[in-house]
Every structure is written in C-alpha cells, then in structure tokens.
C-alpha cells in the first residue's frame, strides 16, 4: 500500500497509448511526406481558419444557449427534496445514455424537408428550410449537451444551503440581490464545469454537422476528411485544435480561481 509499484503497468500504458500517439501527431504536424522538418502544414491549416472560427462560433452559441436554459432549471431542481431530485436526475440521464448518433438522427427526421416540423410550419404559412444549416446544427448540439450543463450546475447548487438564501433575505436582499450576491457566486464552480463539459465536445464534434449541417462542416469533420489524404496537414489541424482547447481549459481554470478568491 505504500509502494508505487502497482502503478507501473499503467504508467507504461500511458506512455505507449497516450504520450506516444500525441508525440506522433506532433511529429506528423511538423514534417512533410518525406519526413523532413517543415512548417508548411501550418500554412495549410490557415486555409481552414474560417472553419475553425465557425466551429468555435457554433460551440460558443450552443454553450451559451445551454447555459441560459440550464441555469434556472438547475436552480429549481436544487431546491427540491432529495428524493425528487434523484428522480428528476434519473429522468435527465435517460436521454444522455441513448446513443449519440441516434439522437442526432432523430433531429434529422424531425427537421427534414416535409418532415413533421416542416409540415406544421407550412400550415402556418412559414416556408423555410429547417435542416442543412447552422441553426439545425446548433439545435442538435443543444439537444445533445443540455444535460451535461444541467447536472454539474445542479450538483453545486444543491450544496447551497437554503439557510444562506434565507439569511440574505433576512438581511434585506430582494430576489435579484440574493441571486447576485449569494446564489450566483456560489454556483460559479458548477458553471465552469458545465461550460467546459459542453464547449470542448461541441467545438471538436465530429458528424453532427455532417448530419444536420449540409455543406457547412465543422473542424472535427475536416480533420477526418483531411486525414484521408494527408496525415501531415491533418495532424497539424488536430494539433492546433488541441492547443486551442487547452488554452480554453487553462482560461476556465484561471477564471474559476479568480472567482473563488476575488469575491
């Protein structure tokens, strides 16, 4: 129990299956087909910069929508009894456990031209394409990741004792103040958790755009596509994505610490 030796198998594993593959990505990103060092791949990456920005944009909007929808709901749930909370959470988890692609597929069926939603809107005289556009992709993302935003925020909020809110009210805070001064600051760790758990997969998602976005693909799709004919450029794009995500995580971490200390 005091020995470090039991971890040796896993440390070896980590080396081979986590570190080495990433080193390979690094290697391919900085070399050309012949194996010579080059930065040309990153020049190619700049061709994809508009898709990068588009992906981050979609991820940002999806994350914000999830946050706006989830936050009040998390609060309401956290004020329920323990029993009620676990039942509600259970029902939230069922869709989460359904297969990712099937859930996206469901939206393909719903949003398809002459599908149920389209037919319904046509009755009201609204003629518009519901699918194969950015809007559809965002709907799909929000649908997919909303529970991932609800659960961490609810978890943190359920730890906020009711007596804190009552104390604030007792001292003269109206609803808005209670929220600003007590509930919100205490919920920040949950928000950071939720935002991280939604933004990262959303930005790097693979296939959702192919199902719902029509021609407008996202960076995840492009990585796969490029990899089919050029490992080097593909690796470079993947590397840039990883660095961006890492930067985001570091930023979220710093932000969280500041909130915890500054207030």
């Amino acid at each position: 129990m005091k020995s470090k030796r039991p971890s040796i198998p896993y440390l070896g594993w980590m080396l081979v299956f986590t570190i080495v593959p990433l080193l390979m990505v690094l290697y391919y990103a900085f070399t050309d087909k012949a194996g010579n060092f080059t930065l040309k791949n990153f020049v190619n990456v700049s061709d994809y910069s508009h898709i990068f920005l588009y992906s981050l944009y979609v991820a940002l909007i999806s994350t914000v929508i999830c946050l706006v929808l989830a936050y009040p709901l998390s609060f309401f749930i956290s004020r329920c009894t323990q029993r009620k909370q676990s039942v509600i959470i259970m029902f939230l988890m069922v869709p989460m456990w359904m297969n990712f692609l099937l859930r996206v597929y469901a939206w393909v069926l719903i949003l398809q031209t002459n599908g149920p939603l389209d037919t319904l809107l046509q009755i009201f005289g609204i003629h518009t394409t519901l699918i194969n556009n950015t809007g559809a992709v965002i709907v799909g993302m929000v649908y997919e990741f909303l529970p991932f935003m609800i659960l961490p925020i609810q978890s943190v909020m359920s730890k906020i004792d009711n007596s804190l809110i009552e104390a604030a009210q007792d001292l003269g805070c109206n609803g808005l103040y209670v929220f600003r001064k007590v509930v919100f600051p205490l919920s920040v760790p949950g928000i950071i958790s939720g935002v991280t758990m939604v933004f990262v997969p959303t930005a790097s998602t693979f296939l959702v755009a192919q199902y719902l976005g029509g021609d407008q693909l996202m960076i995840g799709d492009d990585i796969e596509r490029v990899f089919q004919f050029n490992h080097n450029t593909g690796s470079a794009i993947a590397l840039v994505l990883m660095v961006v995500i890492l930067g985001f995580l570091v930023f979220m971490n710093r932000f969280g610490d500041k909130e915890a200390v500054g207030r």
Binding site: M1, S7, M14, T18, S204, I223, G234
Partner: protein, 263 residues
C-alpha cells in the same frame, strides 16, 4: 417545486429532451419510411433481429465493453494505489497526464491512436480491428477508474491496512482481505462508468477499427448516415426501454440502501 412556473419550465425542458426520442419510437412502428403514417407494423423489429450484421455488432460492442471495463478496472485500481504514493509535484504531473484522454477532444485522441496503430501495424505486421479497439477503449476507461478509486483511497483509514499487516497478513493478502473492501464502491462505480463509456463510444472506435470491425455505434453510423433507416428507430426503442428500466431499478436499489443506512 414552489411556483407553478418552475414546474412548467421543467416539463417543457423534459418534453424537449424526450420528444425526439419518442418520435423515433413512434415511427418505428410505421409501415413506411417517410414521416407519413402508413399503418402500424412490427416489421422493422423483425428486420432488426434478423440483421446478422447488427447482431454481430451488438456482440462485439458488449464483448469490448465488458473486457475493457474489467481490464481498465484492474489496471486503474492498481494505478490509483501506486500513484497515490508519489509525492506532490510528481503525483500532480502523473494525474494530469492520466487525465489527457478525458479532457482531450475525442477526435484528437482517435486520430492520434490511428497514427499509432497504422505505424505499429506496418512495423509489426498487423491490421486494426478488435484488438486495437480494445486497447483504445482501455486507454480512455482507465482514467475514469482512477478518478473514482482515488477519493476512496484518500478517505480510507490507513490503520486498517496496518492492522492487517500487524495481525500477520503479507502486503498482498492485506490488500485482498481488507483494503479492497474499503475501495469497493469506487471500484464498482469506475467499472460501471467504463462499461457505459465503452458501450457508447463512437469517435475513438471509428478511428481504430480498421476496415472491417463493427461495433454497434459504428453500425448505427452506417445505418443512418445519409439515409433513412427505420431499423434505427426500432433499435432506439429497444435501447430506450432497456436504459429506462435499468435506471429505474438502480434508482430503487439506491433509495432502498439509503433508507437502510438512515435507520
């Protein structure tokens, strides 16, 4: 729930989450392929069960999930114990590297493993398939096991292990007779999370499966990519019922356990 507004909001969100799935299930009984209702039928379910490919994928998925979960649990539990004995800075560094598969975008992990397996495949003369998928799955499951077991190690009274030694157990025996019982909740939850994540994994499996190996998520991709396939609807229905049943059972079991503990 105190105000009716809160209740309504919860119902709306739940409806949003469940409606697409229920739509899928409803149309799994449709005697046609479009959104036009053509009569009730079981034929898609029959087709599903007769589809040897789908059944094969299901078998593969379950096999991989079970093996990956078991191996990841053993590897991860040992790793958690060993890593816990490293000192501060080194321990942090190892934990951070161990968490890379969790925080890295799946597409980057998938692509990096693909590079590794392609390279190793040409060097050592093998093709991607069952074994590479299994290795990849163990790779992303083990960090979750470590995250679940480590808090248990921290909480455990270390004098229990010493008491076992004191009474004559060799270190290995002490682990199996005493320590494992204390860690069991973490080991079990690590196992379940591993099993679930492996069951549902698409992206990483997609990149490490080679040309022929199919798991269920990958199969679903083939089924739904760019075509409407009512067998997917039937599959969704079955999954939904299974998940709902499992979650309800687990909810009842945990609430019974809590009631007993409270007594």
């Amino acid at each position: 729930m105190k105000k009716p507004g809160q209740k309504i909001y919860l119902i709306i969100i739940m409806a949003f989450l469940y409606a697409p799935i229920l739509y899928l299930i409803a149309y799994s009984f449709n005697n046609g392929k479009t959104s036009v209702w053509k009569g009730f039928t079981w034929k898609w379910y029959e087709a599903l069960f007769r589809d040897a490919q789908i059944m094969g994928s299901l078998k593969n998925t379950l096999t991989i999930a079970l093996l990956a979960a078991i191996i990841a649990t053993i590897l991860g539990t040992l790793a958690a114990i060993g890593i816990y004995n490293f000192k501060g800075g080194v321990r942090s560094a190892i934990q951070n590297i161990s968490n890379i598969p969790i925080i890295n975008p799946e597409i980057v992990t998938g692509v990096s493993l693909m590079l590794l397996f392609t390279f190793a495949g040409t060097m050592l003369g093998f093709e991607m398939g069952f074994w590479t998928v299994l290795l990849a799955h163990i790779g992303f499951c083990t960090p979750y096991v470590i995250l679940n077991v480590t808090p248990r190690i921290r909480q455990m009274d270390s004098s229990l292990y010493e008491a076992a030694l004191d009474l004559g157990c060799s270190p290995v025996k002490a682990f199996f007779k005493v320590v494992i019982h204390e860690l069991m909740p973490g080991i079990l939850s690590g196992f379940l999370i591993s099993f679930t994540y492996s069951l549902d994994d698409f992206v990483i499996t997609y990149f490490t499966r080679g040309a022929r190996f199919q798991t269920l998520p990958v199969q679903i991709y083939t089924m739904t990519h760019q075509r409407i396939n009512p067998k997917a609807n039937a599959l969704s229905a079955i999954m939904f019922v299974t998940i709902l049943t499992l979650l309800i059972i687990s909810n009842i079991v945990t609430s019974r356990k809590d009631k007993e503990a409270a007594r």
